[in-house]
Symmetry: D2
Subunit: 365 residues, 4 copies
């Protein structure tokens, strides 16, 4: 690793997340202004690394992108170069093409690679590091469910959007004495539902970590009625499940005359509640990708900038194979080896759930 760094490259992998552009900007600016590196970007994640789809990143390129959602480098899912789908003799097969990627970097003179992505993307980063590539990882997940860092960027933007939706639903719920259901992201971890539910004054929060009993949800609605509160707000993570078993998130009724994808958990809840609660109308909203896009919130812009600059510092310090992380109020780093695959679920007995329960929020348990 004693090689003097002259050129670095970045790539973004997995689902997009507000703050990606802020990381790209911070890496580029710090690398150029502070360390005199040349900076490049591979477009479309690892796929671009394989195809050598590379562009220079300059101060001009990253101007005006700090606040913008999305990624100017584009992204792709399903692009594990260690098990990559390619055409071979006319049929599609899976191959380890990582050497092609390494050779591409060698030809372009790339001395270090900053990989911004979630668990899958960072697993590949670790594997490239094992093969000798000077890798630095930057963690990305809108769900905030990585064990190695206290907060991931994008998460606070997502809860801002979800909380804003809850604020809006309140006035209409109250005027019509309705039950309003808001489905937010969170397949495996309920952080978005939990925090937006606290911030948005939800009455019920349903998350994957705490299987819900529909009767307890009804009980909460009835309890509110008994205090003259004739409306209720439910926020539900897309991966929430009932105590009776898993919920199919989405499926297609193929044999219907007019095939239609079945809605997710919000829909299911709506129908379950309608069977029992006759005197209120029940309405659901599925925020979907609105949570991922738009302007990056202030908090995430700062966090992403800190991550980006620290990543370049780690390159300068030769700390390859590591990932930047936030610990308390400090930007730190961890060996990728130690953090891959370790997720952070909501603790049903933890502080946030406990606080939520103490102010009267039901988790349906």
């Amino acid at each position: 690793m004693s090689r003097k760094i002259k050129r670095i490259a970045l790539l973004t992998g997995g689902g997009d997340c507000p703050g990606l552009n802020a990381v790209i900007r911070a890496v580029t600016r710090a690398a150029i202004l502070q360390y005199g590196y040349e900076v490049f970007g591979y477009r479309f994640g690892y796929k671009g690394l394989y195809n050598n789809d590379i562009i220079p990143l300059t101060l001009e390129t990253v101007s005006g992108i700090l606040h913008k959602g999305g990624t100017i480098l584009y992204s792709s899912n399903k692009d594990n170069l260690f098990n990559y789908l390619i055409e071979e003799n006319g049929s599609m097969v899976k191959r380890d093409v990582s050497d092609v990627a390494i050779e591409n970097m060698r030809k372009e003179g790339i001395d270090a690679l900053v990989v911004i992505g979630g668990d899958g993307t960072l697993t590949s980063a670790r594997d490239f590091y094992r093969k000798g590539v000077n890798v630095i990882g930057v963690p990305k997940t809108i769900d905030n469910d990585l064990a190695a860092t206290d907060v991931t960027f994008g998460f606070n933007t997502a809860i801002d959007v979800a909380t804003d939706a809850l604020d809006r639903l309140h006035t209409t719920a109250e005027s019509h004495h309705r039950i309003m259901i808001l489905e937010v992201m969170g397949r495996n971890a309920g952080w978005i539902a939990l925090e937006s539910g606290i911030a948005g004054s939800a009455d019920v929060i349903l998350i994957p970590e705490i299987p819900y009993d529909i009767n307890k949800v009804v009980e909460k609605i009835r309890e509110r009625e008994s205090h003259g509160r004739l409306f209720s707000i439910i926020v539900v993570a897309e991966g929430a499940k009932s105590i009776n078993g898993d919920i199919v998130i989405s499926k297609i009724v193929e044999d219907s005359p007019d095939p239609i994808r079945l809605g997710g958990i919000a829909n299911k809840l709506e129908l379950e509640l309608e069977k029992v609660i006759k005197e209120h109308e029940i309405r659901s909203t599925v925020l979907g990708h609105v949570q991922r896009g738009g302007n990056t919130c202030t908090y995430d812009r700062i966090l992403s900038t800190r991550y980006g600059v620290r990543a370049v510092e780690l390159i300068d310090e030769g700390k390859f194979g590591s990932m930047v992380s936030l610990k308390g109020d400090t930007i730190s780093y961890e060996p990728l080896e130690n953090v891959i695959g370790k997720t952070k679920d909501v603790d049903p007995d933890g502080e946030l759930v406990s606080i939520a329960k103490k102010i009267g929020i039901s988790f349906g348990d």
Copy 2:
């Protein structure tokens, strides 16, 4: 009508709409401060008029509500007192109970009634006027589809929310080269889809007034691809229909093992497009009641205030049986008799559609 006005009352009917509270506030303040009336509100629309659920409205009551969505008077649907469902001899029957309402007003000394509502609510208002009640109507529909007024309050708030969602979808669509579908309100008229589509830079706008051909939608997506634009944004009114026939907005698959309400037009579109477009992911969002709630936008606060004050002026002038309206830049009024049942659809050959087409937006026709 020569009776001196001393006490007036308000009620709000039908679906809630940002700006209702601003009208209530303006009526109350102008009535008290300018004309010295006492002001009352019936809660839950006509139902409250029937049940005599009446509260005083004072400067204090209406303080701090100008910007708030919803209605402090609550609302109800399905409450036509001329054909009202009541219990009689143990069974539910429909009766004309309008005399009960009129007697309630007489007992409370209500000299004039301001009715804020949509076409159904205003039809009843007209019927009360025919029976001698001093009625003034204030038009309300979030869909902006009333013929008698250029703009209804709530509409601009709704397009703000929809446009904000479109802005958010853009960044994520662009990063992943996706087709994004946003379903907005508009059962019969496509105004919200049309205006938010223009403001939110949509590529395709589908509205009830212009039946769409799915092949034309695909054509537009392909045309963009040919110019290197690898993502597309589609905004669709919930009442949009294809040239092949109507779409069922929402139905329940009762015989499914796990009964689920089928999604609407956004879902149908998603499935139709998925059959043809294989290389892009397609995602849809249904904004739902998020469009109806939250803070009222600046434009609607001003329009509602103008409507509210004008309604009180009309009481003072004895112009009963009329409805306030916006004509160009002027607040005017119309006889309720002339405006009931007259809607305003998007004109497929009108200025806005023409402008949208000239900047390259497809309507699928």
Copy 3:
């Protein structure tokens, strides 16, 4: 005018205004997609026309700018080419250099020029038209004070920003029983103060058209106190004046040891009120250029788009020497000759002021 149009150019002049980019985009898209024109932009207004600082505008150039404040063509003030400051024999003199500009357009083959600007910019546009240039004007003023059009773009964005500030000031005013003063734009016309004051629930609105008596302002504050309302919100246009004479907006105390520009009307008001009102703290905020920038609001995006497309239609129709305008709900046009120099002040006896007074707002008169 029988010349077939092949190439058109745009320029933006005067102070920037949310919606300029939306006009540029609409002109460019409609011109290319609908009429097959080539489109160019002169940078820095008329100065660029003189210097032939011209760039091509393509679909790509105008992508992603619909919602952005500012102008991608930049702007300049003080650039009347009919009386232009140039160097001649070593000293600066004013000359009519309009022929240079016309020759520049001829050389580039520009067949028609779309000029987006305020009264000064449009006066030059008229003068170029008189000299044979195919000019179309698009009116721009954030103050909404042009007589020839009902609404100018940028205005609604400005009142959104001002109203948002008023909303924020309310909570802090109420908590501390303070008098809060917000100074907004409006040198000659008080539209922004008037509309944001109505929308933002101000207690006092001071505008240039209605000279204020400080005693009447104090009276209003005292009246509120007598009803237990221990805070007041004042919105004041920067050009507001007292009945005792004009206010110097801004001047520099040169002979101060530490020269400082004196604040404007908000500051003056604060000091005047402090002399009389001892029991409340008084605080003022000067919004300044925050009102001009940021994202363009939904309303202005649509209006700008309509203006832009209509401008291209007028080129196609050969209606040169005219300016697009909004009349009621329709985009129309007027001869530039008829509209130059005609402003639209707030009518002290008009509907909006009357409505504001009826809900209890004081104008200090």
Copy 4:
């Protein structure tokens, strides 16, 4: 302390801050729902404690206030009951009236007092604790400059507002090649300027902790010009000072014919820069109390809720004389004795300043 807690009271002191209502709500809900306490509020801070201006707080009272800025309990400055200005024999004298307050609490049966305030307010809280009152403190300062807690509520809302203003200034700065100055809060600590400057893409950040050299600021502007960036954004804390000495924040020119309060640091900077930089216009905005009000941001709603619930838990645990605090990701507490008077300035050599410098931001040093 073995006394069984039955009744608790709250008060809010000092300047208002977004999140106060969220703390009041959380304390009230947790106290009632979880611990069965009765809850009361003293209005106007310690003044209300002295005057026994007490009201009951119920679930109903705190409904709908989570997101609202300000404080429903009102606040007051300058109300140290240990040195309180009262009338005695016709003249105003300062007295220790703390025993009156303690007697008031005794009479009302208040078993514990939650005090929400900044350093001054908490010093009194500590003094009451020394005299035997069961006090729990909740830290409040919009400036985020308390040593005992990582983050105070209100701070993130303030940087959101400042960042939004910077976003808006960018477009107008860029269009006109202007130097834009934004003055934000921060008399002693520059946290708001620092974090909003990073998030809002400022070019220069001036804070009290790093005295600035005006020549370095000019240098930065010139350096940007040399790279074709013809505009600059400066964010300055109100307490920023130059290396040449302190700046008078605000003074009144009494001997002026028209006495006017002199503007603060933004104004001074504007004049200093105007002397040197002739080719750009320079404009300044003073955000003022707009930073304190309006809706509380998501982050602050959650933090305030956590603080509020933890305060009630500390009552239940008998941990009196302590203050809740955030340490990393955990809500903890500290003895008031240890934390009074300890502030947290921006470290000129700390991580955030270092990161800002590495991406090219100048601090004028």
